[in-house]
Amino acid sequence: MAQMNMIQALNAAMDITMTRDPSVVVLGEDVGYFGGVFRVTDGLQRKYGVHRVLDTPIAEGGIIAASIGMAVNGLRPVAEIQFADYIYPGYDQIVSELARLRYRSAGAFSAPVTIRTPCGGGIRGGQTHSQSPEALFAHVCGIKVVMPSNPYDAKGLLIASIEDDDPVLFLEPKRLYNGPFDGDPNKPAVPWSTHPKGEVPDGHYHVPLGKAEVIREGNALTIIAYGTMVHVAEAAARSLSLDAEIIDVRSIVPLDVETLCRSVAKTGRCVIAHEATRFSGFGAELTATIQERCFWQLEAPIQRVCGYDTPYPHAFEWEYFPGTQRVARALAAVMEAR
C-alpha cells in the first residue's frame, strides 16, 4: 500500500494498464510532454514514448473521433478532455458514434474508449471550468458514466474502465484531486494522507463498475451522493449528529439501484446531493427510481440538494456550491417530516 492523492492514483491506473496491455494509448491536449494541466499523465510519455502518449490539437471532436477510429483498429485509447466544460465539441462523436457503434453494427464493431475529464467546482473556475455534466451523458444509451470520490476508488475504477469493453466517461472531481473537501472553503486544505481512502494498493485491482458503496452505515436516513458531495454529505450529517447511512454512487451508469433501494427501504428517508444543476439533473432520476421502488417505506418526501439552475458563477461560488449548510437543511427537513 502507498499513500496517494487522486492525481497519483489515476496516474498509477494508467501506468499499470499501459504496462500490462500494449494496446492502451493516452491522448489529449497537453497530456504528453507536459503531463497534463493537472499532472494526471505526468511521466507517461517519458516511460511509454510519443507513440503511446500523444499530445493533440485543441479539437475535442477530433480527439474523440480519432479515439473511436483507434479503438476500431485494436487500440484501447484513454482520451483526456482537459475540462468537462470543453467536452461539448466532442458531444456528437460521443452520443451518436461512440455510444452507439456496438448497437448499430450489431456487435460487428465496438470502441472501448475511456474518456477522462475533470469536473465540478470549488476551484474558482467560473462557468467554463466548474461544470458537472454527468446527466447529459447518463441520458445517452451505450456509454458508462463513472465518478470516483477518493484515490482508492479512482485507481480501481479507472483500471476497470480502461479494461471494460464498453465506452466509459470517467469524471474526475477536480476539487478532490489533492484532498477530501467537506464544502467549507475557509478550513485549511486537508491532504489525502489523512484519509483512509488515500491508502492505495500498489498493483492492479478493480473497483467494479455498476457498484455503489455504503461508506457509512446508519439507520436514521439515507444520503445518496457522488464525487465531491460525498464528503460534504458526511460533514453535514456529522454536524447534526445524525445516524445517516451514506452511499457513494460511484457508477452513474450502470446504476446500482439495489444498494440504493435497500438502504432507503431500511431508513425510510432520503436526501440526494449533487453539484450539478437541479432541473433534469441526475438527482431527478434517482428520486424517481427510489420513489417507484420504495414509496411505501418512505416516511418523508425525498429531498434534493443541487447546484442552482444558473451557470456556475465565478464571484458567487460559495453561495452557489451546495455546501454543508444546504445539505444539513435538507437533512433536517427530511428528519422533521412525519
Binding site: A65, A66, G69, D92, Q93, Y103, R104, L255
Partner: protein
C-alpha cells in the same frame, strides 16, 4: 445612394425550367495534368487542386501520366462492378416504390467513385464510406443477399433491425459501419490510420464524404489530425454538386475547390474527374502509395454528379432542371469505361447487354432469396428481444427489466 446589401447569397446556376449550365465546372483536357512523385511536398503541387485529373479523352482513349495502365481484365472487372451497382440500385429503388423496404439511396452516376476507389486499394485497407458508396461493399465481396437483408431489416439483417436501409457494414470486407450522421466517419478513419501507423502495420484507411458535409467540423478535424500526424489515410470528398436541394456553393465551393482545402492543411489536394474510372483509380493508387511510404494523407475531390434523387424521399425536379444530369460535362462513368473498352477492341454493345441481363438476373435471384428471410410485411420477423442487446456488451439490469416489460405486451 441606394442601399444594397453586401451579403452574397449563393444561387445555383440553374433552377427548374431553366437551361442547365455547368460553366462553373473547371475542366482540363485528358492527360494534361502532371503526375508528381508520390513523396513530393504538398506545396509543390497546389495546381492539382485547381486542375482536373482526367485520363479518358473524348475519343475514349486513355491519355497522359495518370493512365494507370490496367489490364483489360481489370477494366472489365471494374465495369462489371459499376454495372452491378447500377442494376442493384435500380432494382432496390423499385422495391422501395413497391413498399417492400422503407427507404433507399441510389449512387447512379457516381459508381466509379466507390468501385475504382476500392479496387485501387489492398483488401487489408480499411474503408469508411458514407451512404453512397455501395460499390465498395460489392468490390469487397459482400453478398447481394446480405446487403438486401439489411435493406429489409429481416431475420438475416446484419444490423439486427437497428439501422435504416443502406447503413451496411462488413467485417471480413473491412468496411466500417455507416452511421447515418454525416461526416462523423471522416475523423474516425484518421484515428484508424493513426493506429495502423502506431502498430507499424502497412495498412491504410480510406474515407468518403459528400461535398455538402465537408461543411461539418468533423471534416476539418479529419484534415487537421491527418496533417499533424501524417496519418496513412485517403480522404475523399465526393463532389456530386448537390446536398439534397443545396448546391455545392453552400459548402463553400464557389470560392475554392474542395480539393484546395488540402493544401491549406499541408495535405496534397487532387481534383479528379470522378466519372473517369481510370482517373479515380490512378489518383487513389497515387495517394495509397504516398501513404504507405510514410508521406501522409491525401485529399481527393472526386468531381461527379448525383444523377438520381438524394434518396427515395427526395424529388430533385423541385430544385434543379430535369435534364441537368444529361448535360453534365463529365458524362456517365459506366458509359465512359464501356466506350473505352470498346475502343480497345475488348468489349461490345452486345457483350454489354448480355452482362446487364446477367447482372439483373443475379440481382433478381438474390432478392427472391432475401425475401424468404422476411420482409416488412411478410414472413419471419426478427426477435424484438434483439432491441435490448448490444447497447452494452453485457445486458444490464435495467434493460432486462425493460425487456420483461415488453414481454407483457406492446403498444
Amino acid at each position: 445612394m441606394p442601399h444594397t446589401s453586401r451579403l452574397h447569397v449563393p444561387r445555383p446556376p440553374s433552377r427548374p425550367g431553366e437551361a442547365p449550365d455547368f460553366g462553373y465546372v473547371r475542366l482540363s483536357p485528358a492527360g494534361a495534368v502532371a503526375r508528381p512523385d508520390v513523396a513530393a511536398s504538398a506545396a509543390d503541387m497546389e495546381s492539382l487542386s485547381v486542375d482536373l485529373i482526367r485520363v479518358l479523352d473524348d475519343e475514349h482513349r486513355a491519355q497522359g501520366p495518370w493512365n494507370p495502365r490496367l489490364d483489360v481484365a481489370e477494366l472489365q472487372v471494374g465495369l462489371r462492378y459499376m454495372l452491378l451497382t447500377r442494376v442493384y440500385d435500380d432494382r432496390m429503388l423499385k422495391t422501395q416504390r413497391q413498399g417492400k423496404i422503407s427507404f433507399y439511396m441510389k449512387s447512379t452516376g457516381e459508381e466509379a467513385v466507390a468501385v475504382a476507389g476500392t479496387m485501387a486499394l489492398r483488401p487489408t485497407d480499411m474503408l469508411f464510406p458514407s451512404y453512397r458508396q455501395q460499390g465498395a461493399y460489392l468490390v469487397r465481396g459482400s453478398a447481394l443477399v446480405d446487403l438486401m437483408c439489411q435493406l429489409l431489416s429481416n431475420t438475416r439483417d446484419m444490423c439486427k433491425g437497428r439501422q435504416l436501409p443502406v447503413m451496411y457494414h462488413s467485417v471480413p470486407g473491412r468496411v466500417f459501419s455507416i452511421s447515418g450522421n454525416l461526416a462523423t466517419q471522416f475523423p474516425q478513419s484518421v484515428g484508424w490510420a493513426m493506429a495502423a501507423a502506431i502498430k507499424g502495420s502497412d495498412d491504410l484507411a480510406s474515407s468518403w464524404i459528400g461535398e455538402g458535409s465537408s461543411a461539418e467540423a468533423d471534416f476539418h478535424h479529419a484534415l487537421l489530425f491527418a496533417s499533424v500526424y501524417r496519418a496513412p489515410v485517403i480522404l475523399n470528398v465526393v463532389n456530386n454538386q448537390w446536398a439534397i436541394s443545396t448546391f455545392q456553393g453552400y459548402a463553400g465551393g464557389e470560392q475554392r475547390s474542395f480539393a484546395a482545402r488540402g493544401p491549406g492543411y499541408g495535405i496534397p489536394g487532387l481534383r479528379v474527374d470522378g466519372n473517369d474510372f481510370l482517373a479515380v483509380y490512378a489518383a487513389t493508387a497515387w495517394a495509397a502509395e504516398r501513404a504507405r511510404r510514410g508521406a501522409g494523407s491525401t485529399l481527393l475531390e472526386l468531381v461527379t454528379y448525383r444523377a438520381a434523387a438524394h434518396s427515395s424521399s427526395d424529388d430533385p425536379s423541385r430544385y434543379r432542371p430535369r435534364d441537368d444530369a444529361d448535360r453534365w460535362p463529365l458524362g456517365d462513368p459506366v458509359e465512359r469505361l464501356k466506350q473505352h473498352l470498346i475502343a480497345l477492341g475488348e468489349w461490345s454493345e452486345e457483350r454489354h447487354q448480355a452482362l446487364a441481363a446477367e447482372l439483373d438476373a443475379r440481382v433478381a435471384a438474390a432478392w427472391k432469396e432475401a425475401t424468404t428471410y422476411g420482409t416488412q410485411t411478410d414472413g419471419p420477423r426478427l426477435d424484438p428481444d434483439l432491441m435490448f442487446e448490444d447497447v452494452f456488451k453485457e445486458l444490464p439490469q435495467h434493460l432486462k427489466e425493460q425487456r420483461d416489460d415488453m414481454h407483457r405486451g406492446r403498444g
